[in-house]
């Protein structure tokens, strides 16, 4: 599957069917810091994703000093 890591401005290819949680662990991304989106749908961490999918990791952490 294609994984678009928005905040790192890069795309990676991950092979094989697995759960979202496992994809995040493999990529070293803390699940608290992103939402995972497929199409227009939010995915929970137990959702299955496969080779045919494109998913976006959308960062949720923002802020300066204010």
């Amino acid at each position: 599957m294609k994984v678009m890591i928005r905040h790192q401005r890069r795309e990676v290819e991950v092979r094989g069917r697995r759960r979202v949680r496992e994809v995040l662990v493999e990529l070293g991304v803390n699940p608290e810091t992103v939402l995972v989106i497929r199409g227009a749908q939010l995915l929970t961490h137990d959702a299955q994703v496969g080779d045919e999918d494109t998913i976006e990791l959308r960062p949720v952490v923002s802020g300066g000093t204010e």
């Binding site: 608290e32 810091t33 939010l42 959308r58 952490v61 923002s62 802020g63």
Partner: protein, 329 residues
């Protein structure tokens, strides 16, 4: 994972509440949390006119949206900070939301009104950008609110923001700041609007989920000046704790509100008076914002006299006068 309300496919898991919801039931959850925050902390009622500080980001647009849906009289205030493409994009997103939802929007423009961007103000006064930016925003939130008859200013600070500020204050035992950290800062002067944070029960991840489920097009990219900000380091640390121990952020901040802040409350009332230059509330003769803009103007004037290359000044710098505002909805 199933929605705990309807057993349909869940869209959002909230580990700290041992809950998961589909899109519709997540919105219900979100609404309840915001309504509870407003009522528990007595932030405002449906009779108040609320000015919502809107940056075009997920938190402030989600806040504006939920307040309007819950039946509150919420007008947006967008402040153009003059931060290049970032400001242009955030302005576009804010105006697009207002237009699509028929929401009232006021716009204040720092470069147009004060002759330079917040970055130029920061450079000219040797401040870090976030400091000049924060001072400018706080000043304009209050001034626009008072000038336009709003009693309350609402900002999109969420649970993660507040927990990160609290952690920073605790690391340095800044007891003055700790005593003042609250989802509600009351008005203590006729020209000081009440400040409220209705998203303090909402995690940052939940605010983003709300915006996505509601179809709100927000600016995802971060302000270029926030790179390396201490608050991001604190959030990273808190998210590591949260991952291992769901509810850590909530426990830290809500626990502080329930048990910590009372221990730190002081009886020292700060006496506010009107700034002699702009009339805004201040503890000094001249407020910090006027001091900053006047210092910046003087420095620019000296640079011009020396013939140094200085950024063009579009208008005389002064603190008086209403901001450029207009309905964009």
């Amino acid at each position: 994972m199933r929605c705990q309300r309807c057993r349909g496919d869940a869209a959002v898991e909230i580990r700290r509440h041992h809950a998961a919801f589909c899109g519709d039931h997540f919105i219900e959850f979100f609404d309840r949390q915001v309504q509870r925050a407003i009522e528990d902390e007595r932030m405002f009622t449906r009779d108040d006119r609320v000015l919502v500080a809107v940056s075009g980001g997920k938190d402030s647009l989600a806040l504006w949206d939920v307040l309007r849906r819950l039946g509150y009289a919420a007008t947006g205030l967008y402040i153009n900070l003059g931060i290049g493409g970032y400001s242009d994009e955030s302005h576009r997103k804010t105006v697009a939301y207002a237009g699509a939802h028929g929401a009232d929007l006021l716009v204040a423009d720092i470069p147009r009104e004060f002759g330079m961007s917040v970055e130029e103000l920061a450079r000219a006064t040797r401040r870090v950008s976030c400091s000049a930016c924060g001072l400018s925003k706080r000043y304009l939130f209050n001034r626009v609110a008072i000038d336009h008859g709003f009693t309350v200013v609402a900002t999109g600070h969420n649970l993660d923001d507040e927990a990160a500020v609290l952690l920073g204050n605790l690391l340095h035992w800044q007891t003055d700041y700790l005593a003042r950290q609250s989802p509600v800062l009351p008005s203590t002067h006729p020209t000081l609007a009440r400040k409220v944070k209705p998203l303090y029960r909402i995690a940052e991840r939940e605010a983003a989920a709300y915006a996505i489920i509601r179809g709100i097009d927000y600016i995802v990219d971060e302000c270029p000046n926030s790179v390396g900000a201490k608050s991001l380091l604190y959030k990273e640390a808190l998210n590591l704790l949260e991952q291992a121990s769901p509810g850590a952020k909530q426990s830290l901040y809500w626990g502080f509100l329930e048990r910590g802040r009372a221990l730190l409350a002081t009886q020292d009332a700060v006496t506010l008076r009107a700034c002699v230059h702009c009339g805004q509330p201040t503890t000094a003769e001249v407020c910090a914002f006027c001091r900053m803009t006047e210092r910046a103007a003087e420095r620019m004037r000296v640079q011009r006299l020396r013939g140094a290359a200085a950024p063009a000044v579009a208008a005389p710098i002064g603190a008086a006068g209403a901001p450029d505002s207009g309905g964009a909805g």
